[in-house]
Symmetry: C2
Amino acid sequence: MKALQDRILKDGKYLNNGILRVDSFINHQVDPLLMDQCGEEFAKEFARVKADRILTAEISGIAPALMAGKHMNLPVVYARKHKPVTMPDQVYFTVAPSHTKGNMVDLIVSPDYLPRGEKVLIIDDFLASGSTILGLVRLVQAAGAELVGIGTLIEKSFEGGRRSLEALGVPVVSLVRISSMESGKITFTE
Amino acid sequence: MKALQDRILKDGKYLNNGILRVDSFINHQVDPLLMDQCGEEFAKEFARVKADRILTAEISGIAPALMAGKHMNLPVVYARKHKPVTMPDQVYFTVAPSHTKGNMVDLIVSPDYLPRGEKVLIIDDFLASGSTILGLVRLVQAAGAELVGIGTLIEKSFEGGRRSLEALGVPVVSLVRISSMESGKITFTE
């Protein structure tokens, strides 16, 4: 997606540890119009999977998932990292290693919002190692729901996350794929 | 706002501890079309304050703030509760008591996204005691930016938060105001 590529080149910042900083338009500060465009693009890409629901992870998945949900007219559920007092005691729960934080994070979903048999589309901001997304996939499986697709804004294809998702047999769509950030130079691949 | 009132009556759940559970359409599960309508309403209400930027707090402020930002064509910044590795060391920082969690939460904003002199509109999901919003106000003041308005989806007017915000001298707009939840019966006020 050209608009997102252009924005990454203009405002993305490469941090030495393999992390792409996009906190001026995706995390921390969000560009709502860009996210709206990305949501529209997800809606086009996933029209044929006929999802019932979108699942994402707090925090930075919320913006792209919400805009995808708006364009697809679907409810959006975000897995919580801490169980709020308003959540029932019986939940779907998994843990996933956090790439940027170096620790494990909890992913918790209320069974009320992940019904058995529904078709679930996962949307998140990044596809890097794929560990957060695989955590979301485990929640879908625990619920007895059906995974129908995975969409991310930015894939760092050199981290191999796509390979770990391939066995799932669903379409994996990233709006932008970065094949290299060697020496801070960002190279896209189609 | 009638659509939001209706949804609260239909799907809101009163928990005995004074907490209104709205996790089927605002927190945890989000209804993107309802949030879009709420964002449009905020845009109307705050058109005349000519904000440069919207500030909210993660996590549940993100959806309404993002949709308001879309309708107002403004960047949205969400205060983080944990400092990510991508954030610079020098930040604006405050702590605020969390109503639903009973502990203190950090609110952290990068100076890059809260520039001195800009007009800032605060949007959040709830106005209860007002403590989170007052935390956001302190960040605006620390940055030398100008607060121009406060918008929330749901005000629990019996918790007195509005009174604590009045001294700020800016419009405080809640799309729905609940005056009582006695015995689980939700009463709205205009």
